[in-house]
């Protein structure tokens, strides 16, 4: 895949170039490319006058940043305490079975990936997961499969 590094200019225009802006820049870049490929990290280091090691160090410290691509729909699967007590292990099992992927993988059609995260703040609806900005709660096997199938159906129509 060709990466359009020019597009990063927009990110710098919003976040700035001083050292304190690094996390905001990485967030902007990830929004743009879906993940943070090495070329992008090198370019960021260059633009901000930082060592690549420093940029990579910050990138790998925070759970939000990914250095590998993800599917079009990234499922954030809650593994917080309330979800754990309400069987979030089942949710992961159903998702990984239904989509045939493990955490961090992409489905063959490029539509889905999933990541385990700690608490989405909707603990009273545990077990919960988030896709895009939408949170789904009180999950059970049927509900999860339906949510995934619905998204796939919409995507195939497009």
């Amino acid at each position: 895949m060709d990466i359009d590094l020019k597009a990063l200019d927009g990110v710098f225009a919003v976040a700035g170039r001083d050292e304190g802006a690094l996390i905001a820049v990485l967030q902007g870049a990830q929004d743009l490319y879906g993940y943070l490929p090495m070329e992008v990290l090198e370019r960021i280091a260059d633009e901000m006058g930082l060592a690549v090691a420093k940029v990579l160090g910050v990138t790998t410290f925070y759970a939000q940043f990914r250095t590998k691509p993800v599917g079009k729909n990234l499922i954030l699967l809650c593994q917080g305490t309330a979800c754990h007590v309400n069987d979030s292990a089942m949710v992961e099992e159903v998702i990984s079975e239904h989509l045939g992927i493990a955490e961090g993988d992409i489905t063959d059609d490029g539509l889905f990936s999933y990541n385990n995260v700690a608490c989405l703040g909707c603990c009273s609806l545990a077990p919960a997961m988030m896709i895009g900005d939408k949170v789904y709660g009180n999950l059970d096997r049927e509900k999860i499969e339906k949510i995934l199938d619905d998204i796939r159906e919409v995507a195939l129509c497009e």
């Binding site: 967030q27 305490t81 007590v85 009273s124 919960a128 988030m130």
Partner: protein, 577 residues
């Protein structure tokens, strides 16, 4: 007449977005509000009639929305099915609301509704005629202590930051809400963002700062949006910006989204993260009040702490101090979750008992199961067993149990939660979230996790409990920040109150909660099996043998204890031991 739909993240997840859209489609102009706390009743719709009467409808699904629309149009309807029950209404009324006073009442996206509730009056009055010292004194009188976990007196921190002269100081709001299983701060920002802004302004005035930063958790997109809207409205309304209220005092606030690291809730790590660094804590002193963000004196407060501040300045420190116990003043918000009937947010005066919260407001345990324990304080906290349910909620009493007040997460567990498994869960968390700076925290938590994994896999050995205790002591002593210093707490409290479960796992290879898979065996009760073969169809490893309409059996050598057969059997013939 006004239609108000509860649209916090939790309401939306329960279907409030669809309800809202349906009202719009039917030609109404519904308003929104934040989370009222009764998450188990979501989606919630309030109707304020022109007569002044108000009705609350709960668990409003598609049909419920139709019924309410018919009701509003004066057509025949069944809204009674959705009207809030007396008991649920009472639960909301019984609470003492200070931090949550506007949550679920006002529209968080409309500054005028906050102003109509006397919003921004406290800061105006202060700027017009009180000194920073007087403000700090008022907070001192209130007895307000930090709600972020440590419970440190708020006035003391403000005073320290005030005393340190500098050309620039910062007020930082800690909205990182790292405890997995807690959502008080999210709900407050989503439901009453102006209260946080006003709280930060008051703190800013008190310490002599002109700039605030809110550090919000990345997983809270709606909170960030609501806060952005609120900041924009406050700026255009003249509540934020230069030369406020005709004085020479200026104050503005910006948002910084976190990037997913639990340790960044710790104040020195948070500052490092704000500066664009890896979020690693450093040794204190210097405290942030001396040398904080960009080396300047900074004051960091939790969201709920700040939400209490405007109320205190409006009603006086004495009114706040009148609530609570000798050593803990005011109220506390708790996020009730886990195996509880009424999951959601509750606010109670300090001094209420755990049972008041769990059985009174929380409605007891789901599915009539037995209450086993409640986990408070997240990964830094501990488990309090059912026997200690009459412990009162104050900093001291909770600490005596080995748990902590924490930030307000209360995860309730029933007989099916394995306490060794729970300890393992928390160690997995802290091990993953340790920033790696201190050897004891980085490697010690890993070793503890390995032991717990061994135990829950049925490979526990004699001496494992003692080893866990020894490691716990070493990690507590050898860690620089509270992440490591408190990481062993979930293990220590479960060892203290549920030692037998550890022994069962290690010696008898048994998990009484029936949750550790490697320790479970499945069998089929002959007299109940009809031979329908449903279990066989569901078994992913073809581990169930038997001819159709003849008694089946589980082949233990291939069984992976996934439990699918148990769920599929319509006759309850599968026994798990």
């Amino acid at each position: 007449m006004r239609i108000v739909v509860g649209r916090g993240s939790c309401g939306n997840a329960a279907g409030a977005s669809d309800v809202f859209a349906a009202f719009v489609a039917a030609g109404f102009a519904p308003a929104i509000t934040g989370c009222v706390g009764a998450c188990y009743l979501e989606p919630i719709v309030d109707i304020y009639y022109d007569s002044g009467a108000k009705k609350r409808f709960v668990r409003v699904d598609e049909k419920g929305t139709d019924e309410i629309i018919k009701h509003l149009k004066g057509e025949e309807n069944h809204v009674v099915d959705y009207t809030i029950g007396d008991n649920d209404a009472k639960i909301l009324l019984e609470q003492k609301r200070v931090a949550l006073v506007n949550c679920g009442v006002i529209n968080p996206e409309d500054i005028n509704e906050y102003i109509a509730k006397n919003g921004y009056e406290a800061i105006k009055a202060i700027v017009a005629g009180r000194t920073p010292e007087e403000v700090i004194e008022e907070v001192k009188v209130s007895g307000l202590a930090g709600r972020g976990g440590a419970g440190f007196p708020t006035w003391f921190k403000w005073n320290a930051a005030r005393q340190n002269a500098a050309d620039k100081k910062y007020i930082i709001c800690n909205a990182d809400e790292g405890d997995p299983g807690a959502f008080m701060d999210r709900a407050i920002i989503e439901g009453d963002p102006h209260a946080i802004i006003e709280g930060m302004m008051i703190a800013g005035f008190a310490i002599g700062s002109d700039e605030g930063i809110v550090y919000v958790r990345a997983e809270y997109p709606l909170a960030i949006t609501r806060l952005e809207i609120a900041l924009e409205q406050a700026r255009s309304g003249g509540y934020l910006g230069k030369n406020l209220f005709g004085t020479d005092w200026s104050f503005d606030i910006r948002i910084k989204a976190g990037a997913g690291a639990f340790v960044c809730g710790e104040e020195t790590a948070l500052i490092a993260s704000l500066e664009g660094e890896r979020g690693m804590p450093r040794l204190k002193p210097p405290f942030p009040a001396q040398k904080g963000y960009k080396g300047k004196p900074s004051n960091i407060n939790n969201v709920e702490t700040l939400a209490n501040v405007p109320w205190i300045l409006r009603n006086g420190g004495c009114a706040f101090a009148a609530m609570g116990t000798e050593n803990s003043k005011g109220t506390k918000v708790f996020a009730l979750a886990g195996k509880i009937n009424n999951g959601g947010l509750v606010e109670v005066p300090m001094g209420a008992t755990l049972n008041d919260v769990i059985f009174g407001l929380g409605g007891g345990i789901k599915d009539g199961k037995a209450f086993k324990a409640v986990q408070m304080g997240g990964p830094s906290g501990g488990c309090i067993p059912a026997e200690l349910g009459d412990t009162i909620i104050d900093y001291k009493s909770l600490a005596e149990t080995g748990a902590i007040m924490g930030s307000g997460g209360m995860v309730v567990m029933d007989e099916h939660t394995c306490m060794v498994g729970l300890a393992k869960f928390f160690l997995e968390f802290t091990c993953k979230e340790s920033c790696g700076k201190c050897t004891h925290c980085r490697i010690g938590t890993k070793r503890m996790l390995e032991i717990l994994e061994r135990i829950t896999n049925g490979e526990g050995r004699d001496g494992d409990i003692e080893l866990l205790e020894e490691l716990s002591g070493a990690i507590k002593e050898g860690s620089l920040c509270a992440l490591g210093q408190t990481a062993p707490n979930p293990v220590l409290t479960t060892l203290k109150y549920f030692r037998n479960e550890y022994i069962d796992h290690i010696k008898h290879k048994k998990c009484t909660a029936k949750s550790c898979r490697p320790l479970l065996t499945f069998s089929i009760k002959e007299d109940m099996c009809t031979g329908c073969n449903l279990c066989g169809k569901h078994c992913p490893v073809s581990g169930i043998k038997g001819d159709l309409w003849h008694v089946h059996s589980v082949e233990n050598s291939s069984c992976i204890a996934c439990g699918k057969c148990t769920h599929s059997c319509p006759f309850g013939a599968i026994v798990v031991e």
